[in-house]
Symmetry: C2
Subunit: 332 residues, 2 copies
């Protein structure tokens, strides 16, 4: 059973993943991903993943058999475990609980060599619908306080399999970074009686220096205080706390802008490894109308080193105005 | 002039380093470090660094000439710039100021191929004295609120030069991660009337499961809520807010335990890349007797991916009790 442990100084939680338990020799040489080797996510290999939780298919075929467009399966090596009680307990100065949660994999397409930037917009849209459907289902479990949707693309960004996939992790705790954003947005709202993200959307639309692209429902910017070179945010133009409550036209327009941004990034940065995360409102908060969901995309171009670990301060060698310029000018 | 920018949601500051200004083509292919190539930190090449700020030498020779044991020089590509005013200003929803600060490099030894784990203890001790001397000098500048000492060892940990060196960055803002620790320690003190680090030292000494080694003045542990595999902390046994106020015997014992820990880590993990940072009390706080300085050491074994970036939650595949066991048992 994985364990959730709290740092007694900063209240930062970590997941001690006993199931994955790595010994010193597991870290080197770094495991190689074989190009063209066996892929558990390819059609025909459905038996190599746990049984599917959700499937999109047009052919009326059997579950866990080829013919699907998209599958969601439990992660075979989950960071958190679905069965059990939280069982919170103290040990002197320390606090811990069982590592309860959900860890799911969205297999985005049957085609091993596609990516979100090369697949058609309507397939990107299906991935977004899968995020929504899984969030709505996981929300029913009263043990969970947060659901994080994220994607690791490319080995340098932490992807251990090449086949296009993204992930959801449901946690029994609201993660620190989300807490900071939710609290920050609430403080701003209490002071100004406006949403800070709405204010950012308005300011970036009128200045244009950091604006990359926009459509009817979304705006994409290089954020003012970008931590990383070419960090890119996609924000809904209309205030909305919950990703899963979006209108159909919003998923269509999100798939369009996400695909476009990834195509621009592929062009400017030669198909970089990247991470993206969807920051959504926490579950079961009394009322958080002040938060504004959004997507944060970070190509993996630099290394995080001692100064960043020690300070939480980031050094970004590319001004966001320059990054936005290159992204806007890319011929796609 | 580098710029300090504040994220309007989380109040996280970033350094936008205009001097280092990287264009897309600068990120790939990744710059290669040539083994055996020209080294600006080796004796005879003193002219390739800015003039030294501090030097330890026994031979009575000229400044910036060979014969030194240790040199401190300004970083040739500083993240922050020493000259100028802070010039705080707003721009709509955003806040920024000039990137004022100090960025110095401690060239730890004239020997290119030595490391802190292979050099004699008294040379490690000299490095600690250099940290102290520079902190005491930088403290005099009223613009600075914090001085972070850190080391990036090995390319995977972000070191751009091979020659043994560590760094100091003085910032006009108290970094977020330090603020969290200082505030956390104060909250604990207000509640319990004890220092949380002192309580950790006592608890780890009596349990031994996470204790790696100790001497008269210091204890080394795999922390309960380790973020990374083989994360290791070195804590003074006696409560002390300021690194630079330590007694002579403490620098001697710190050099001993630091060298020992690095030797153990070299043995267990085959000379890994690593980062260490010294977390010290902020400057010019009214009174922070509740903080307890310490050193945090993190070998670079895993990749930080989307879940960690999105949540601030870490997944650690090696329980600290196992890491401590391997570190204790290493034959050095």
């Amino acid at each position: 059973m994985p364990e959730l442990r709290k740092d007694p100084i900063t209240s930062r939680w970590v997941i001690i993943s006993t199931e994955r338990g790595k010994r010193p020799s597991d870290f080197f040489p770094e495991p190689e991903r074989k190009k063209g080797g066996f892929c558990p996510f390819c059609p025909g290999n459905e038996g190599k993943t746990p049984p599917e939780i959700l499937v999109y298919r047009n052919d009326g075929g059997q579950p866990n058999s080829p013919g699907w467009n998209l599958r969601v399966v439990p992660n075979k090596f989950p960071a958190l475990q679905i069965e059990g009680d939280l069982n919170r307990q103290g040990d002197g100065v320390y606090d811990k609980m069982n590592g309860i949660g959900a860890h799911e994999v969205v297999i985005e397409t049957p085609n091993h060599d596609e990516t979100l930037s090369t697949m058609p917009e309507n397939k990107v849209e299906e991935v977004l619908w899968a995020f929504r459907d899984r969030i709505l289902d996981l929300k029913k479990d009263p043990r969970f306080r947060y659901i994080l949707v994220f994607k690791n693309h490319g080995e340098a960004a932490g992807a251990s399999l090449e086949h296009p996939h993204s992930q959801l992790i449901a946690t029994p705790i609201i993660p620190k970074r989300v807490r900071e954003e939710v609290d920050g947005a609430k403080d701003y709202y209490d002071y100004k009686e406006r949403c800070v993200y709405c204010d950012i959307v308005r300011q970036e639309q009128s200045h244009e220096g950091r604006l990359i692209t926009e459509n009817q429902d979304f705006i994409s910017i290089a954020p003012f205080a970008s931590r990383f070179p070419f960090e890119t945010w996609i924000l809904p133009k209309i205030h909305d706390p919950f990703f899963e409550d979006a209108q159909k036209h919003e998923y269509i327009n999100l798939s369009r802008i996400l695909k476009e941004i990834l195509m621009r990034m592929d062009k400017v940065l030669s198909r970089p490894a990247y991470n993206f995360i969807i920051h959504n409102s926490p579950l079961r908060e009394a009322d958080v109308p002040t938060y504004h969901w959004h997507l944060e995309l970070m190509p993996k171009l630099t290394r995080v080193a001692g100064f960043e670990w020690g300070s939480g301060f980031y050094i970004n060698p590319t001004p966001p105005e320059e990054a936005a310029h290159f992204m806007r000018e890319a011929k796609i």
